[in-house]
Assembly symmetry: C2
Homo-oligomer: 396 residues x 2
């Protein structure tokens, strides 16, 4: 019950135990095409260029940035938590001239603040995290696409922490590049990064295409401004996933099976229903934690549905409580990074764990551990508050 990774859906685990097939077996290429279509539904996009990067969600981020950024390009990153810093870090290593605006952890930016910075910096790319699990809040993105378009700026976001559990609309919000991961609301393991690219992003990337020696046709050559990474070269990866099926890496078959099953489960439930489920159980957890006497962290108007931050009570050893909860109750909750380290715990309700029993067991167990740690708790208040949320929902 931490900020992710979390327990995988048993269906995903079963899918990943399926036998492998050859990488150009028609059934494998059919799985690939099917997975692309499924993720169009997940991201809410019609982008043809929708595929998987073989690596963790951080691999998806780096693939997007290294493929879009030519060294010297200006990139604007609004930083509101740890993963904003990560975008800065990766963009810098791609050779970008990175400009940042920052806000306190637990808050987000107003669109006008980002617009002002865009006008001032004139970046090629705006790179912003959607939900930053380190702070439990999500940056509203719905107005940023129009601002980017008006200023000729490419618009990229990472939705690893939010996708499938929070509202997200790639096309309607005007995104040019979106990266995700399986290990949060999608209920899968880390290790595969779904990505989607707009036609404009594909144009930018394809202009730098350089096919590697060894599989080049006569007349094809290398380019001086080629993408700095081979593994993350989305121009080549698009050719591998596209009709040309030009060999690049060997697709990670088991992770493909897992990614496919994550998307199938989500789309069977329906994206809207899954978001509502995350909101319900997230609210039940939040109200339960509050009723246990814990203060909620961060701007609640912009909170993520799937993770909540709570202040560690005075006099309580945060790591000792987490340790006891894990060793004696088998439940993991999260620590924090940077300015929040030692100050808040993060409790998740996402993917397969966005369930009533998972919420109630966590609240019941945490109550015991808090009491033993000397924190003032009212017996039963956590579960009661969660029940109130569930009862009011069923009354609607």
């Amino acid at each position: 019950m931490g900020p992710g990774p979390i327990n995988a859906d048993p269906r995903v685990l079963r899918a990943m135990s399926a036998q492998l097939v050859g990488q150009y077996d028609p059934s494998m290429t059919a799985y690939m095409a099917e997975t692309q279509e499924l993720y169009r539904g997940v991201f809410r996009t019609r982008n043809d260029a929708t595929l998987l990067v073989d690596g963790t969600s951080r691999a998806g981020i780096e693939a997007a940035l290294v493929s879009l950024i030519t060294p010297g390009d200006r990139v604007l990153v609004p930083v509101f938590g740890r993963f904003g810093h990560l975008l800065v870090e990766i963009a810098e290593r791609c050779g970008a001239e990175v400009h940042t605006i920052e806000t306190d952890w637990g808050t987000v930016f107003r669109p006008e603040q980002i617009e002002e910075a865009i006008v001032r910096v004139q970046p090629k790319l705006l790179a912003v995290v959607h939900g930053d699990t380190s702070t439990t809040v999500a940056q509203p993105l719905d107005e940023l696409g129009a601002i980017c378009r008006a200023n000729g700026v490419l618009f990229y976001t990472d939705v690893t922490a939010t996708i499938g559990g929070n509202e997200f609309e790639a096309d309607e919000w005007g995104l040019d590049a979106v990266t995700g991961g399986l290990q949060k609301c999608l209920g899968g393991p880390s290790g595969s990064a779904p990505i989607t690219l707009s036609a404009k992003a594909v144009e930018v990337i394809s202009a730098r295409k350089s096919i590697e020696a060894g599989i080049r046709e006569p007349g094809e050559t290398s380019r001086p401004d080629r993408i700095r990474s081979n593994y993350f070269d989305l121009a080549q990866i698009l050719d591998y996933w596209g009709p040309r099926r030009l060999n690049h890496h060997t697709e990670a078959t088991t992770m493909l099976y897992g990614s496919r099953e994550c998307a199938r489960i989500l789309l069977e439930e329906g994206v809207d229903a899954a978001v509502a489920r995350h909101r319900l159980h997230g609210t039940a957890m939040l109200e339960g934690l509050r009723a246990l006497g814990l203060s909620i962290f961060g701007d609640q108007e912009h909170r993520m549905t799937n993770v909540v931050g709570v202040a560690i009570p005075d006099g309580v050893n945060g790591d000792a409580v987490r340790g006891e909860l894990l060793s004696d109750y088998g439940i993991e909750i999260g620590t924090s990074f940077g300015p929040l380290h030692g100050k808040i715990w993060r409790v998740g309700t996402m993917g397969y764990n966005a369930r009533k029993d998972a919420v109630l067991v966590t609240l019941a167990s945490l109550e015991q551990v808090l009491r033993r740690a000397g924190a003032p708790v009212t017996g039963g208040a956590g579960a009661a508050a969660a029940y109130d949320v569930y009862d009011s929902e069923s009354a609607v």
Copy 2:
């Protein structure tokens, strides 16, 4: 029965269906430590820096090269097939000044040829593929470590295609960096890249360490010569796998389970026994194919145990034969790249598929398909030749 990926061992598939645990759960960090120790046995090394890169084997190659190469460094790549070209490609994108020597596909270099080039080029790094599946031959590496050491050159190889099925000794042969993959003789899926680094390689990499903003301690800063990739920054990845457990990516738990099981299976059998098994079944396949009237490709003195190349007979449509074998018999064999495209098929016997029944079924089926394609075949000759190999083995 292609050049890989191949069928996974059912034990590996079962291991990958296990439920996830949190990334800092003591059982997870214990699995990580256990996996490191297992791969020391696989690579035959005492290197402390033995771990997994989360991505396909190509990700392991790029992690090694981008972490070892500072832009402007001279790198020498002896190219004897497609994957030599890949090393060139990746090293160039890392900003290296790449020098190559080339030999015909199907042949390897004599140590003196490589030594001559090292003396002439004075590279920082020698990067050479061990077995290049594109050509079915393996470069002997056992004399190169001493040459590198005498010339102050770092020695890197990729053993994706050979490890677990061909003799390999990381420490005895003087390797500084070795990368692999699961999808060949280790009998797992693509998607995890075991890697090992000598103390000297770790020193080179750690000198460039730059901890990312967002998780830095006060006083830690970024470096101007930092590694060009964040995802493949082995200095940071070593901190994640090491006692500091500094957060980097979220380890791909399911792939870790798979990697661990691949190594457990190999070490239970014993590396030497596994190599002997690959040699036995590879020889049976080779003699069977030859007896079916097919000419064997490449320098047989340096052939890989686990893949054999055979000339497509005159007048036979290579892709049609492969297609019929796959659709009617459920058996995949491989096509070829570059100068060998359309000229040879590649037939593998590796990992879980290095078995007598897999060899005999493949020979029996291929005989039928070849006959229908109009190639001259002697009925039963393939299976008979394979039986002869098995009988002579059991007579020893």
